[in-house]
């Protein structure tokens, strides 16, 4: 039926606008006035209220309750619950009518892009795939980029870094780790992403190398505040020495950013 399809398209379109949206699925209906066949139907809402219903019948049957202040208030309370995980909620439409709804934020899974397929990337990709990230590794060296080395990567891109940026769009749920083979490449990548909306931007290197790269970027007119937002030296300071230990430190830093710590 086109109706349901349209509903999901609507959800998708709303998500593209980077808005916080929530869906609610009717998982139990305890009511004389709401038809049982509406079980599994959904509605979509944001901070301003309900945007769409999965069927006209649902809209029609809920309409009378939408005028009810208590129900309105309950919906508002639901969306005020910031950063919420999925949860089951019981809502009172009025004294005699109750719905159980499953409330879910629609989320874009965080994405990790690792620039450079060297010895840090290998353990980092392994660890981050356990953390529910989808993962892309970019490098211009074919011998480093293969699924034997990165069995859990979602995408391996054999490209010059400049070519990668020709059509890459970096969004706010992107996490970027720069671990290329040399500071000239690190500079090139960082220059391309420093003004992006990425949630996390980290670059490996000694303080001296970092300063060299930053000076080049200053010459390019990059603002100091942008440089300060880069996580460099990369990773939490846990005294890491081996590549795997460094990868753990980077992953920990990524978790901290993701969880607003």
């Amino acid at each position: 039926m086109a109706e349901v399809e349209d509903f999901f398209k609507k959800v998708f379109d709303e998500l593209e606008g980077n808005k916080k949206i929530l869906t609610a699925v009717l998982t139990n209906i305890d009511s004389e006035e709401i038809s049982q066949n509406l079980l599994g139907e959904m509605f979509l809402f944001d901070e301003d209220g309900i945007i769409d219903f999965s069927s006209e019948q649902l809209e029609n049957e809920l309409e009378q309750f939408l005028l009810n202040q208590d129900f309105k208030k309950e919906i508002l309370e639901l969306r005020e619950n910031k950063n919420l995980d999925s949860q089951l909620k019981s809502i009172h439409l009025d004294q005699d009518n109750r719905l159980e709804i499953f409330l879910e934020p629609v989320v874009d899974q965080p994405h990790l892009t690792v620039f450079g397929a060297g010895h840090i990337a290998e353990p980092l990709v392994k660890i981050c795939s356990l953390l529910d990230f989808t993962i892309t590794v970019v490098d211009d060296r074919e011998e480093f980029l293969n699924y034997d080395k990165f069995p859990t990567a979602d995408q391996l891109l054999l490209l010059d870094y400049e070519d990668y940026f020709a059509d890459a769009k970096i969004k706010e749920n992107d996490y970027l780790v720069i671990v290329t083979r040399g500071h000239q490449h690190d500079y090139q990548v960082l220059k391309n992403v420093i003004n992006s909306e990425a949630a996390y931007l980290g670059m490996i290197g000694s303080s001296r190398k970092i300063e060299t790269v930053y000076n080049q970027l200053r010459d390019d007119g990059i603002k100091e505040s942008k440089l300060e937002a880069v996580h460099a030296p990369i990773g939490l300071d846990i005294g890491s020495e081996t590549p795997a230990e460094i990868a753990v430190a980077i992953a920990a830093e990524i978790i901290a950013v993701r969880r607003d710590k």
Partner: protein
């Protein structure tokens, strides 16, 4: 709901396939992180995503196929033994409620 699942639903609906989305709505005695874990099942038995694998996932898939035929969404309660729970990485046994949502 994850964006990639949403994309998949739109794609499968374009192909005019009937499908079900199964997701964990409540999990007692386990980490709340599991709530919202979801998978898609098409009328042809193809699946996308996973709600943990094992025998329980098989039960859910079979139930979903039945429900797709009837066109009715339903709540399913599964009780996990300690051993079954351990197999899917949960600390201890308990009950999980799964909702099978028909998208027809």
């Amino acid at each position: 709901m994850k964006k990639d699942i949403l994309k998949k639903i739109i794609k499968l609906k374009k192909e005019n396939l009937k499908l079900a989305r199964a997701f964990i709505i409540q999990a007692k005695s386990s980490s709340p992180r599991n709530t919202g874990t979801e998978m898609l099942i098409t009328e042809e038995g193809e699946t996308f995503g996973s709600i943990g694998g094992g025998q329980d996932e098989k039960t859910v898939i079979e139930k979903a196929l039945d429900l797709i035929e009837n066109g009715k969404s339903e709540k399913l309660k599964l009780t996990l033994t300690r051993k079954e729970a351990a197999e899917i990485g949960w600390v201890c046994g308990g009950q999980i409620d799964i909702f099978i949502q028909i998208i027809s």
